[in-house]
């Protein structure tokens, strides 16, 4: 069990959260967001803090498989949840197909929004609702990229959707 991770002496709550497949028993003050838990005591700094207000998508992670802004979730409210961050998707030697596609399509410049873009894109593929490039653009609208790599991001996602045999997407594209 992890010891009191944040602010010793402060009131804490006990929660169990699976993070990238590893069960963590945590004592945390209730006002700590999932984003701050990840980046602080858990040292999973791949997830980025952009606006910290749900307006940019840089902090996007998957909670129970669904993409969510981690800046707006209290960690204490996630007892029993499964969280996947960019660190849980792939490794430098074994990239997730979406990570590989982002590299191949040069889908970033500064890279700050990229972990959130990739987690969001993985969520988008899992949802299975994108039927067209316009759908990809709309369904990725919760992730801002100030470098403006949007067209390459859409290319990368389009490739993964096609390669994963997302049948409805292929049909619509023909």
């Amino acid at each position: 069990m992890d010891s009191a991770l944040l602010g010793s002496g402060l009131p804490t709550c006990s929660v169990n959260i699976s993070i990238n497949g590893e069960n963590r028993s945590l004592d945390i003050p209730p006002w700590v967001t999932l984003l701050d838990l990840l980046r602080g005591p858990l040292e999973l700094t791949g997830t980025k803090k952009g606006c910290d207000h749900g307006q940019c998508g840089a902090c996007t992670v998957l909670i129970n498989g669904e993409r969510v802004n981690s800046c707006l979730k209290l960690a204490v409210s996630l007892d029993g949840a499964e969280v996947t961050t960019i660190e849980g998707l792939g490794t430098p030697d074994n990239l997730h197909p979406m990570q590989k596609a982002f590299v191949e399509h040069d889908a970033f410049q500064c890279g700050y929004c990229t972990p959130g873009q990739i987690c969001s894109a993985v969520g988008l593929v899992k949802e299975g609702r994108a039927r067209s490039r316009a759908d990809i653009r709309e369904l990725m609208s919760g992730n801002l990229c100030r470098c403006g790599a949007y067209s390459n991001i859409a290319d990368a996602i389009e490739e993964v959707l096609g390669a994963e045999g997302a049948q409805p997407y292929k049909e619509a594209a023909e």
């Binding site: 207000h53 969510v68 969520g123 709309e138 919760g142």
Partner: protein, 338 residues
């Protein structure tokens, strides 16, 4: 963020009892608005009651073919539910016109009703705001008020309700089920939110200790001739400057039944059921639609920067009614307005 006590409610009854017992407590559902407001020090709850474990996540069939939607159904689950898409596509369309996929995955049905205005001054604790701190004044009146109300405002507050979903619910005539320490009651959607009047700190008619537990929508015939048309500064992930939820039944070119509600223009979704009734039996054509727009906006007043919203809303109403009459709802992906 300020510190607070945290508890998890195991039953609805526990939640409302705890809420009624502590005026300083707030309920936490999706958190997409409350956590944000706490970070800005606008919301300062001394206690958070987490209701995410409550069994309010189902969409149930009603005997009349309507649906009962639990307060904790996520915006995504609601928008993409096959029954909602088929029976109440106006509701699906409005939800998908708002926020982002991430926010819709977290945000709940009850929370959407209870979200606060995005008035810049409400969000800035360094400025006077009657909604945030009653009696301090309204900074938007005579201030920067481009996004503010043109209908139903008062000299205490000109904020607008930010929801898209609620505009559709107003048009569809939903019913809000609430539970309090003394039991349950229903509130007509039209009466759930309120105009600011002398008490802009109150957004809605919930009493102390009451929580929203579900919405009911009766079966209707508005699943063919409908549209949700939202006008905003950018095409996605932005609040409405003006929006229109329109639905009608049309027979032989005549309006049989009309529903129309406006978003982004008032402290609550703006619907005028009397005006709707007056247009039953009229030709479903542009001349009629122009009269409907005139009627709905007859009391509209600009605040200076938002004067443009009056002609914007007028054009939006006419266009939305054309879309609805033609059975060509606004596409929320390809956003060119037909």
């Amino acid at each position: 963020m300020r510190r607070f006590d945290y508890t998890r409610a195991e039953t609805v009854h526990d939640a409302v009892v705890a809420l009624a017992a502590n005026p300083d407590a707030q309920l936490l559902a999706g958190g997409t608005n409350l956590i944000d407001l706490m970070k800005y020090d606008v919301a300062r709850p001394g206690a958070i009651i987490d209701i995410n474990r409550l069994p309010l996540k189902d969409i149930e069939e009603l005997p009349d073919g309507g649906l009962r939607i639990g307060a904790l159904v996520s915006n995504s689950a609601l928008a993409y539910d096959e029954r909602v898409k088929e029976r109440f596509p106006l509701l699906s369309s409005a939800i998908l016109a708002g926020a982002s996929p991430q926010l819709r995955n977290a945000a709940t049905t009850g929370g959407n009703l209870l979200q606060r205005t995005r008035c810049y001054y409400f969000y800035d604790p360094s400025t006077p705001c009657n909604k945030r701190e009653p009696g301090t004044g309204c900074s938007a009146i005579g201030g920067v008020n481009r996004i503010h109300a043109i209908l139903g405002a008062s000299d205490k507050c000109i904020a607008v309700h930010p929801s898209d979903m609620c505009v559709a619910l107003a048009a569809l005539g939903a019913t809000v089920e609430v539970e309090g320490p003394d039991g349950n009651r229903d509130i007509d959607f039209a009466d759930f939110h309120r105009l600011p009047g002398e008490h802009p700190e109150r957004d809605n008619m919930l009493q102390a200790g009451e929580m929203v537990i579900a919405l009911r929508i009766a079966r209707n015939h508005f699943n063919r001739n409908y549209t949700y048309l939202k006008l905003r500064d950018r095409l996605s992930y932005a609040f409405a400057l003006a929006s229109v939820a329109a639905a009608m039944e049309v027979a032989e070119g005549q309006i049989v039944d009309l529903r129309i509600a406006l978003g982004g223009v008032a402290h609550k979704p703006w619907r005028d059921a009397l005006a709707e009734a007056e247009f039953a039996g009229r030709e479903a054509n542009e001349a009629t639609f122009m009269q409907i727009a005139d009627r709905l906006l007859s009391g509209a007043e600009g605040q200076g920067h938002n004067d443009f919203k009056i002609p914007l809303a007028e054009k939006a109403i006419i266009r939305a009614l054309k879309q609805a009459a033609a059975g060509r709802p606004q596409d929320q992906v390809v956003k060119a307005i037909q």
